[in-house]
């Protein structure tokens, strides 16, 4: 299994994801510099967290036009598995690979803490090792995670079961996102964007006793091993 983690100037969770993929899940993993144009044959691409281009203009807005992004978009549209975490989620929105947009957190604060999440859709490639409606815990760390989508878009997300993760309730919602949304997929289900950081809670040495992120990656691995769709 081959995975690629795209590094933009200002990415700061790329090595965390690299570690989890390569050391825990034995992916043959590359860190891909944003100025590359072509991708090797990957089974999974990850856009990691961080502050690409200093979050200037809007989070993810400038990274969306990095040289590598044309290939990432082609890969995603061809059905390749793409996971966008935090800043990666913001980049997926700016790229129109996922619908909606991010606003500044309602309380204007950068929020860094563990939050409770509800697994709203456990039928995806990324979440089928969780139980339906299971309450899990993951850390968030962001200042612009206030997900917004208009009413029509929201109905479409609901109708197509694209809301994958929600903050467990209003008081767990760190940013004021619509419908407590924490993570969504595209219609086809091969692209997931989420604000929480599964890579920060996948091994005991980093988050003792809290490994709810592990099963997000193990879901992906199980699907790939079962012969899930691969783009070469």
């Amino acid at each position: 299994m081959k995975a690629g983690v795209v590094t933009f100037p200002g990415s700061n969770c790329d090595h965390d994801v690299y570690d989890v993929l390569s050391k825990i899940f034995s992916f043959d993993t590359d860190l891909i510099w944003h100025q590359k144009r072509h991708l090797n044959n990957y089974d999974l691409l990850v856009l990691p967290g961080g502050f690409s281009y200093g979050d200037y203009l809007r989070s993810g807005a400038i990274a969306r036009f990095a040289r590598i992004m044309d290939s990432v978009i082609d890969f995603a549209l061809a059905g390749g598995l793409v996971l966008g975490i935090c800043n990666g989620f913001q980049i997926l929105l700016e790229s129109n690979l996922l619908p909606g947009a991010m606003k500044v957190n309602d309380n204007l604060k950068f929020v860094c803490k563990n939050v409770s999440l509800e697994v709203n859709n456990n039928k995806t490639t990324f979440t089928n090792h969780y139980r339906e409606k299971e309450i899990i815990e993951m850390p968030v760390a962001h200042g612009e995670g206030n997900y917004y989508i208009d009413k029509k878009g929201l109905n479409s997300l609901i109708d197509n079961n694209q809301i994958v993760l929600r903050y467990a309730n209003q008081s767990e919602n760190p940013n004021g996102s619509v419908e407590n949304i924490a993570g969504i997929s595209n219609k086809k289900g091969n692209i997931l964007g989420l604000m929480p950081h599964p890579e920060r809670c996948s091994e005991d040495i980093i988050s003792p006793g809290r490994r709810d992120g592990y099963r997000l990656f193990s879901s992906i691995v199980a699907n790939l091993k079962a012969g899930g769709e691969q783009i070469g």
Binding site: L57, I62, P99, A101, K103, D106, L108, Y148
Partner: protein, 86 residues
């Protein structure tokens, strides 16, 4: 011909602006009781060189706004395009 563009972006009407809300609270606590609403946006100045027709410059600015400078999902933009003297 060179052009100077002044661009403003802000969240569309009806989309709650957390920054505007916070600034409004600040103004009220300073005693400006008549303040009814505040929207915080962004302002950019761009200089464009060597385009002869205003329509072409304007089309280019529209394009820049839609592709990068504003996010059409949540933001609206307006701009002023002026010929630069000398």
């Amino acid at each position: 011909m060179d052009w100077e563009v002044k661009i403003e972006t802000k969240l569309k009407d009806g989309i709650l602006d957390p920054q505007g809300k916070a600034v409004k609270t600040g103004l009220k606590s300073l005693g400006y009781e008549n303040v009814d609403s505040v929207f915080v946006g962004k302002y950019m100045e761009i200089i464009i060189k060597d385009i002869s027709k205003k329509e072409d410059a304007s089309e280019m600015v529209e394009d820049m706004c839609k592709k990068l400078l504003a996010n059409p999902v949540i933001e609206e933009y307006k701009y002023e395009l002026n010929k630069m003297e000398g």
